[in-house]
Amino acid sequence: MRYLAARALHSLFLLIGVSILCFLFASLAPGDFYSELSMTPQVSSGTISALRKNAGEDRPFVARYGSWVASVARGDFGYSLAFGAPAGPIVRERIGATLLLTVTATLLAWLIAVPWGVWSAASRGKWVDGTSRVILASFLSFPNLLLAIVLLAIAAQTGAFPIGGLASRDAASLTASARLRDTVWHLALPVAVLVAGMLPVIARHVRSAVAEALDSPFVLNARAQGIPRRRLLFRHALPAALNPLITLFGLSLGTLLSASLLVEVVVGWPGLGPLFLDAIMARDFAIVLAVVMLSTVFLIAGNLVADLLLYRFDPRIRVRS
């Protein structure tokens, strides 16, 4: 329990550190939301400095950080100048779409990758393993960006999948089951791209972890006792190989908000990715900060969950602490 408390405290400090660093960077940044305005000849420099003052940007760093923390506590995450509204609700609105995409993709990737990796490890040295390694390496070498563009072009050519968006325009009028089918239909393309990106990483880790476990004496013993192959692989070798996989799973959870950024931008998925990119282009730092902080919270939480799971499933760690 002490171990967990220490980990949680450590995460909290990490979060505070990241927030101060981000805020510092944001305030040191040359140019802000109003610098684009100053290009317009009709807007005088007096107007702009009045606007800046109105937004409270002329206060010292500590005061601005303090009011930002207060606004985070309220759930506002600062005031987005481009939207003219608190950043928190705008970002929250987009999280659902991103999570729908990444949770589906992460689940699918793990469901495929674990048996794939185990099977590949079990047939080490045979042509099956060799082929699977080449396939995984090819997947890994095909840039996600390119795959997204190619699939999008194919979809546009054949009309088999919708392009962009989360739902059809008439989705509101559909029945529940039809709406579900509509969503799945829209999900298929971006999920396929994401799975193609995640699958090889996971499968390669599973393969090497299980391969290592298969080399240990207890597996030889189990085999000598006549335990069936499938049971040996999934009940004996896989649990023993779990340690690095749990860490990887934590990372999977942690990147739920960030893994799909590029893909979202390419396929026009209404999630955090396009919002973040637009905010960067508009120098709308409240949104940028909110998105960075939220995805950081996810990453840290993912690591924490991995630690918890390790504590639960790996007796060696429990004994040590």
């Binding site: 990490l14 979060l15 550190g17 990241v18 660093l21 981000c22 960077f25 944001a26 040191l28 940044a29 040359p30 140019g31 390496a137 090819s138 890994l140 070498s141 095909f142 840039p143 960006l145 390119l146 563009i149 190619v150 999008l152 072009a153 546009a156 050519q157 392009i163 942690g254 990147t255 908000l257 960030s258 893994a259 950024l261 590029l262 931008v265 390419v266 973040f276 990119l277 905010a279 960067i280 282009m281 120098r283 730092f285 940028v288 998105v291 960075v292 995805s295 950081t296 996810f298 990453l299 840290i300």
Partner: protein
């Protein structure tokens, strides 16, 4: 693995020699030939030649009446055709620029960004990691805690976030240096942690202890005994980091936050693919994306080979 090294070296050499291999300079605009498809190279006997290209309402047709032989070592280039003939091996973009030439030139920026950023990351990683592990104490704690901050933020968000806080509109040279600094400055922590582990255990190795007993200075011990222990990790990390950093440059330039026109990089060339209908009409615009694949595959293969090698020893 040997094959992968040879292929990669050849690909890098091709990119490096873009100014000889590319038939046209990267900014050359053939205004009469926007979105021209890849040229068909014909052979009469062993001599390659192309037909003249004529724009029609629906696209381009070959003019069988005019032929231009592909000549080698002309105009200071490896191959090309005489004016007014044109040779577009991968077609042209909307401004009539030769995609093949631009893929070669674009590779220079993309690969150089990856290579230099990895050099920065590895140098920082070696410096901080080795001194943190060797000296220990508060320096170790500060460096490792500081590095954890960069690991706490998702990689692409960190990259974009740092980029967001820097000026948007700056010259190509400055952007290039900025990209290297950002990517390398963000990526140093992973190699640093690995180097630190080695330095930590290396400090206790008998031969290091012996050298210390003979009165060797800290600097001598680090340079002569600790740093050489880390070569294996550094080389393996380089093969992992370079493709990752090349992809980082491609992603940033693709999103319009990296190297901008008219200088080509694989990222800003691919940005034309953000309009999928442009890709449908002119699939050859994806050439820079496909050019990435052999590089990524080669580096992956070498990284696998290296990590297997260093694990077994």
């Amino acid at each position: 693995m040997k094959a992968a090294v040879i292929v990669l070296a050849a690909l890098h050499a091709a990119i490096l020699l873009a100014f000889v291999l590319a038939p046209y300079p990267y900014a050359d605009q053939h205004r009469d030939y926007p979105y021209a498809p890849p040229s068909h190279v014909h052979f009469s006997g062993a001599r390659p030649f192309v037909y003249g290209l004529a724009a029609t309402a629906g696209g381009y047709t070959e003019e069988r009446s005019r032929t231009y032989p592909v000549r080698f070592l002309v105009h200071g280039r490896l191959f090309g055709v005489d004016q007014p003939g044109v040779l577009f091996l991968f077609g042209t973009d909307g401004l009539g620029r030769d995609t093949f030439s631009r893929v070669l030139y674009g590779g220079q920026l993309s690969l150089l960004t990856g290579l230099l950023a990895s050099a920065v990351a590895l140098a920082l990683g070696l410096l901080f990691g080795a001194s943190a592990g060797y000296f220990g104490g508060w320096a170790d704690r500060v460096l490792m805690r500081g590095g954890e901050l960069t690991m706490a933020v998702p990689w692409l968000y960190l990259l974009l976030g740092v980029r967001a806080f820097l000026p948007l509109h700056i010259g190509t040279g400055e952007t290039f240096l900025l990209l290297i600094a950002i990517i390398g400055g963000i990526g140093w922590f992973r190699p640093a942690r690995l180097v630190r582990g080695i330095a930590l255990s290396g400090r206790e190795r008998p031969f290091v202890q012996a050298a210390r007993g003979f009165g060797a200075s800290h600097f001598y011990l680090l340079r002569r005994h600790v740093v050489p222990l880390t070569w294996g990790v550094l080389i393996t990390q380089a093969t992992v980091l370079i493709p990752q950093f090349v992809l980082a440059e491609v992603s940033l330039s693709f999103l319009g936050l990296g190297i901008g026109e008219p200088v080509p990089s694989w990222g800003n060339m691919l940005a034309e693919g953000r309009q999928y209908y442009a890709i449908l009409e002119h699939p050859w615009l994806l050439a820079p994306g496909f050019a990435l694949i052999p590089f990524l595959f080669g580096y992956l293969w070498i990284a696998d080979g290296l990590s297997a090698k260093y694990r077994s020893t």
